[in-house]
């Protein structure tokens, strides 16, 4: 095996890229980003997954993008371009939402943070950064509001797991205990003043995400301080492999899989975060039409009954072998120790307990529809 190699120049890198390589991470191209998929020397996907469920794991999620809305009509712009009702947010509160096309399909799913009455921050997906920024620019021009793509300003580190709070508390002067899920605050972290600290994540576990300046030296210093502070809790660095299996167990959507420009909000089962009572937003007329008409496919959770792992793109077939649906994400579930998947199927096959066939390498392998999320973290 070669010595510590440099990333291909065509791939984008986070400020922590050299740190990942030093730590022996296995790197992959993720949506044009050179990102760690796992750290074999300290964990590996399975160990990293379990660390987050039972202790704490540290992720570099700086590839995620950020769009800042400021100005007197920032709320109007946010309301127009996203499906949840941002008028309900108070400063320091965030929620899950999405930007929709007029057809009610997904531009992207986002987290909207209300920083102040005239100040909102969207956290967006890595692979959709440019598309999202373009979509925002194209659609909020009529508002007295500035929308800036500030994606490159931050290194975003996720500290996830039941021991996440205890870890981060060692590094900040902010009392973390009153911060509720999907709320955030600003405080000093590792000596960095005014750092955004959000109780958010993409693992189905309790945890925090911190937003620090993106310069490589600061990013590396904080990364190592977080790992060092986490030593007593068994903290290990975690890659995108574990991030994917964690979010799948928690049934959190992944853009390009469960949601895309071809899948609508009702099909994806995300209508809970879509507020049709809002006077106006992009996608609303189509959503009302779809709500009245119903959907032709719906997202279900599958658990394999027979031996096999359903993978992204595998067909769901009826007993005669005709395709009736498709797997969007599938994997071994490392904490649940089952083989699970998410799939689109016709609504009449979506009932809990229905037995379906996943076509795996030409063979029909039985799976049953189960309630989701597959994993729900225990209440404190």
């Amino acid at each position: 095996m070669s010595s510590v190699a440099e990333a291909s120049p065509t791939l984008r890198k986070t400020a922590l890229n050299p740190v990942h390589r030093q730590m022996g991470a296995k790197m992959v191209d993720f949506g044009g980003w050179d990102m760690p998929v796992e750290y074999p020397a300290t964990g590996g996907v399975l160990a990293e997954h379990l660390a987050v469920r039972t202790g704490v794991g540290i992720f570099d999620v700086s590839h995620m993008g950020d769009i800042r809305f400021t100005g007197p009509q920032a709320l109007n712009a946010v309301q127009h371009i996203s499906m949840n009702d941002a008028a309900r947010l108070v400063p320091g509160q965030a929620h899950y939402s999405a930007m929709l096309y007029p057809e009610a399909t997904f531009v992207d799913d986002i987290i909207v943070h209300k920083i102040g009455d005239e100040h909102y921050l969207f956290v967006i997906n890595a692979g959709t950064r440019e598309k999202d920024a373009g979509w925002v620019e194209q659609n909020v021009g009529g508002f007295r509001c500035k929308a800036e793509n500030v994606s490159d300003d931050y290194t975003q580190i996720a500290i996830q797991g039941p021991k996440g709070q205890a870890l981060l508390q060692k590094l900040t002067d902010v009392d973390l205990s009153p911060i509720k899920n999907y709320w955030f605050t600003f405080g000093t972290v590792c000596g960095l003043k005014n750092t955004m600290i959000a109780r958010t994540g993409y693992t189905g576990e309790d945890g925090f995400e911190i937003y620090i300046p993106a310069d490589p030296a600061t990013s590396a210093r904080v990364w190592h301080e977080v790992l060092k502070a986490g030593k007593e809790f068994g903290a290990i660095p975690c890659g995108l492999g574990a991030r994917n299996t964690l979010r799948l167990e928690a049934k959190m959507a992944l853009y390009g899989h469960e949601i895309s420009e071809k899948i609508n909000v009702f099909e994806a089962g995300l209508d809970r975060w879509c507020k049709l009572e809002k006077p106006e937003f992009i996608g609303k007329p189509a959503l009302e039409r779809i709500k009245a008409q119903g959907v032709k496919r719906t997202l279900v959770g599958l658990e394999m009954i027979e031996r096999g792992i359903a993978r992204d793109g595998y067909p769901i077939v009826d007993d005669s072998g005709s395709q009736i649906g498709c797997v969007t994400s599938g994997s071994v579930a490392p904490f649940l120790k089952k083989n699970i998947a998410l799939a689109y199927v016709p609504p009449d096959k979506a009932e809990i307990g229905s037995v379906l066939n996943v076509e795996i390498r030409g063979q029909k392998v039985k799976a049953k529809v189960v309630p989701t999320p597959f994993y729900k973290r225990p209440k404190k």
Binding site: A5, P40, A41, T42, R307, I309
Partner: protein
């Protein structure tokens, strides 16, 4: 062994030493023969024992599923005979020689991680070799080591 998707790439050499994998030099016993698809073959009389190499298990990462043929199945040199899956990737297993399957390692159905832990102990299938001479067409451990190193 050949990956079916392009989900992952091979890793780099880490400098960390406390780890689970990677902390040791890759191991390729000289008593075995090797394919370019990263299977090994051990010849015992007219029986061939088949598994995947240290390089393969390391490149795959945590192995979670192994699918093997039935006893009695005919396998053809260079053609797929089974599947090995890590958390992220599905890879086919390729037969190192022609023959008939005489035994499969049932233990791997419930303990696929044994392939990571001990790739040469965790054999996958035994075959009755059609022609023992075929093993001569495969790589020696020295050649395979070079071949593995070239791919990083």
């Amino acid at each position: 062994m050949r990956r079916q998707d392009a989900a992952a790439t091979a890793g780099e050499t880490p400098y960390y030493r406390q780890g689970r994998r990677y902390e040791r030099k890759m191991n390729y016993p000289s008593s075995l023969k090797y394919t370019k698809d990263d299977e090994w073959l051990k010849v015992e009389g007219d029986t061939g024992v088949v598994g995947i190499t240290d390089y393969a298990q390391n490149a795959l990462g945590d192995i979670v599923f192994v699918e093997l043929p039935k006893v009695g199945a005919e396998i053809t040199a260079g053609k797929p005979f089974g599947t090995v899956e890590s958390v992220k990737a599905v890879s086919e297993l390729f037969a190192p020689a022609n023959g008939t399957v005489t035994a499969i390692n049932d233990e791997l159905a419930n303990a696929p991680e044994k392939v990571n832990q001990d790739p040469y102990g965790a054999w996958m299938i035994k075959i009755k070799l059609k022609d023992k001479g075929e093993a001569g067409k495969l790589m020696s451990s020295a050649d395979y080591e070079k071949y593995a190193a070239e791919r990083g």
